[in-house]
Amino acid sequence: MSMAKSPAPPRLAPQDAAQLHQTWSDPPGLVGWFSAINHKTISMRFMVTTFVFFVMGGLLALAIRTQLAQPDGKTVGPDMYNQLFTMHGSTMMFLFAVPVMQAVATYLVPLMIGARSVAFPRMNAFAYWIFTLGGIMLFIAFLVGSGPDAGWFAYVPLSLLQFSPGKRVDIWAQMITFTEMAGLMEAIVLITTILKMRAPGMTLNRMPLFVWTILATSFMVLFSMPAVMLASTALITDRLVGTQFYNPLKGGDALLWQHLFWFFGHPEVYMIFIPPLGFISTIIATFSRRPVVGYPAMVLAVIATAFLAFGLWVHHMFATNLPELGKTFFTAASLMIAIPTAIQIFCWIATLWTGRLDLRTPLLFVLAFFVILVIGGLTGLMLASVSLDTQLHDSFFVVAHLHYVLMGGAVFPLFGAFYYWFPKFTGRMLGETLGKWNFWLFFIGFNLTFFPMHVLGLQGMPRRVYTYPSEMGWGSLNFLATIGAFMMALSVLLFIVNVVHSRRRGAVAGDDPWGAGTLEWSVASPPPPANFEMVPVVHARDPLWSAQKLPSHVSGLANDYREILVTSVADADLDHRLWLPASSIWPFLTALATTVLFIGSVFTPWAVVWAMVPVAIGATFWFWPKKDIVEQRTGSERSPLEVES
């Protein structure tokens, strides 16, 4: 049965639409480029930047694999190798995995909830600049030979000044400050957008599953990132200012670092994992031609996962001398968190079971999750046992596990999401044949790289070793893994070729090439600057798959200023109208000033004092109200008394 065409939505008069377009556009030119705050513009930059970091992290991995391909490898020495794996882990975890999810979210969430923008668009832009400048700082440090080398987790006392002299670890710790500040700001933007800017009628019960995952993830960011910011700040002060938080000789504790870091670090991996659960729900629904089975169970599963994720962190510390009974509690919690994920997997299989399946590239990448993430989750259950973990911890078994869950759980669905939403971002379809080659190379290459590592771990190969002796017999499996890594690199290259080619020559997508159910497909591809000419009124989940009801749209929002609707938290009842600020270069300039503050403080504490001045100046100009705008806004207000009389 083919799709019936729903009645065309009401449109603005052409001159009003043109004015709306102009109002929400960012200024042109070079200054305009730095002043841009449109959420889609910032998000595209953010997605490209995180993808660049992904590729750089991948190149670092290729260097690692080249060194480990044979015993007694001579490609790099121990110092460079330690920098390589530290940079690889730090890049992937801090500069790619969570930021890319926030980047995609800041593009899609407003469109999915019927909003014209994110909340706090200037802060959204600031967060992007801070993130990017922090990442650039890290890579410049690496390129000048001062790359951090104490691991992405930087355990003390190794990362203290006595054992890690120089500025390497300070740069790493300050990179954390940059990226966590950006992450926290993005979380605030997303939570506010989701709770206060949903289109009228989009009750929480009608919110797309992807938006739920972003809401849960953003709350997790708020609660977990302060722990790592605290930990890394204490590390910097121990190294630079003489505090003794982590020095056992002076009353500090080496395990304090591990508790603080993993209290963040465990939720971090769920922050990476939960948004892709939203991608999977969306793509399975569209490519099975039916809503996902069990919406309430799916929402509760996401929320349960987000909560439980905070109760697992000690499973990274099972080899320490913490009390055994306490460790067993964390075994129970680490096993228990499998239950909500299992519920989701079963609901998705039920959806596939009763759907009409379109096995094109977006779905293929999502289907890989069911093999790869499930294997990773099962090895996670093995690691959850304290006794088993004492053999498997810090061996290549864990390297295998973490890549199965992170790539199966996040990267594969992310590629599916790119194939799915590329038409919306650009107006063109990605090539399907190249997409299938991309997928299969990635899938086979991934398994070839990481499956042997389970065996290597059981065969006694520890992690973070720059080489190994030939008599251990680890050479063949390592060589296989390296071949797989190069296959994956080739696959990513194919993806890049597909993107570059399809930008100009891909099939024209139209508004809704997939016949999908969520609101972003009701606008043009790519969407106009204001997203919706008229804000829709929502009457059901999957609005585009549901019968149209009246009222269908909101009319009367201003076209000559950036006016948005603010609605209530639970039921999205109309609350008030709000004017969002104009594009501005001050977020960028303030981000530059903040960068000077952060980088300077690695070299002298006085930087915090002196660099505060330009930061304060930037922030002042950022927030300074413009007289004519204030007058315009006040003039547009209507008091209830006025209306009644």
Partner: protein, 342 residues
């Protein structure tokens, strides 16, 4: 008592390198009771997880196979689920979730039982070793009820088969981890804290271990050997360890000892019975009784020892031992002397 676990479901026998010639450093061949307990838990968990994976995989493939095909963008979406609740599907999901929960409870129980078994190693007549981690070597202090019978060694341990060994773990600098997988799981050595590992070898053999916590530049080259031997042989070894170095018999060895005592060697190394009492580096009193040098990375023979002394950095870059400027015949005498330290 047969405690050797079988490395079965890992299916490793086909993997090249898992043969008798490879140094023993793997978790799937248990030569001690603790590793055997963990090995049993591994087999159980692997079996259960493989079953679960199989079930999910079959359900998944079956769903893909049986569902009719459609085309996104053309096939109309099926919204029947909004009108009629899908009770059968919900029940199926509920049942699967219930089975999954039971499986998880089984895993929890298995883990708790294994933890209990590990904690119940009989400790009578145990050997006590205090192991201190350094960047990048292992200091071992054997403690006896009678302190006069204590002795110090480095990098290669001997333990008696069939007797418990209580290893007290500390660190001199950064976090290290003791891991001898054929005998037991690993335990961290954290500065400022003391942890304990209790194990027992039940088969004679030489087991290799490696530091398993990233500890800096040469983390990859911090290995150790554990020689498990019958009790009588162990006691004989311990008795030799307690003795100071025998006075050298030949003129060349005597000259070598003089060189050792008067050059930089003595500022870091100890040889009991000589003037060398340095504490910063491995105890060399019985160096010639060891199989390897430099924490398990070089064979202990004259040529390698000479090369190591001349330029440790070329074998283990970043190690704290500096290069030694020494004339070839002095080096020969020194190596000869060190060769007498059995």
């Amino acid at each position: 008592m047969r405690v050797r676990a079988r490395a079965l479901l890992g299916g490793l026998s086909w993997v090249p390198g898992v043969a008798a010639a490879v140094p023993l450093q793997d978790a799937l061949h248990a030569y001690g009771i603790q590793a055997a307990h963990i090995g049993r838990l591994w087999n159980f968990t692997l079996g259960l997880c493989t079953l679960v994976f199989g079930a999910i995989f079959v359900a998944f493939l079956w769903a893909l196979w049986r569902a009719p095909r459609g085309r996104a963008g053309e096939t109309a979406p099926d919204m029947a689920s909004l009108a009629r609740p899908e009770r059968r599907l919900h029940r199926a999901v509920g049942l699967a979730t219930g089975i999954a929960t039971l499986g998880l409870l089984l895993l929890l129980a298995a883990d708790v039982f294994t933890s209990r078994a590990l904690a119940r190693l009989p400790l009578g007549n145990a050997v006590n070793i205090e192991l201190i981690g350094h960047e990048w070597w292992w200091e071992a202090r054997y403690h006896h009820a009678d302190p006069a019978r204590d002795f110090v060694t480095a990098n290669e341990l001997h333990i008696p088969v069939g007797r418990a060994v209580v290893v007290t773990l500390r660190s001199n600098d950064v976090i290290h981890t003791l891991w001898v997988p054929n005998l037991h799981g690993k335990r961290d050595m954290i500065p400022g804290r003391t942890s304990t590992l209790q194990l027992r070898a039940d088969h004679a053999g030489t087991y290799r271990g490696q530091c398993a916590e990233f500890c800096g530049l040469e983390h990859a080259k911090m290995a150790m050997l554990v020689e498990a031997e019958p009790d009588a042989a162990y006691e004989a070894w311990a008795a030799r360890q307690r003795q100071a170095a025998a006075p050298p018999a030949t003129a060349q060895a005597l000259r070598g000892r003089a060189i050792f005592e008067t050059s930089n060697c003595a500022s870091c190394h100890t040889v009991e019975g000589t003037a060398a009492h340095g504490k910063a580096a491995p105890d060399l009193t019985h160096l010639a009784g060891r199989t390897t040098l430099a924490a398990g990375i070089l064979p202990n023979d004259g040529a390698h020892l000479a090369a190591w002394i001349l330029d440790p950095q070329s074998h283990k870059q970043g190690v704290y031992m500096p290069a030694t400027t020494i004339k070839p015949d002095d080096l020969q005498a020194l190596v000869t002397y060190l060769g007498t330290l059995k």
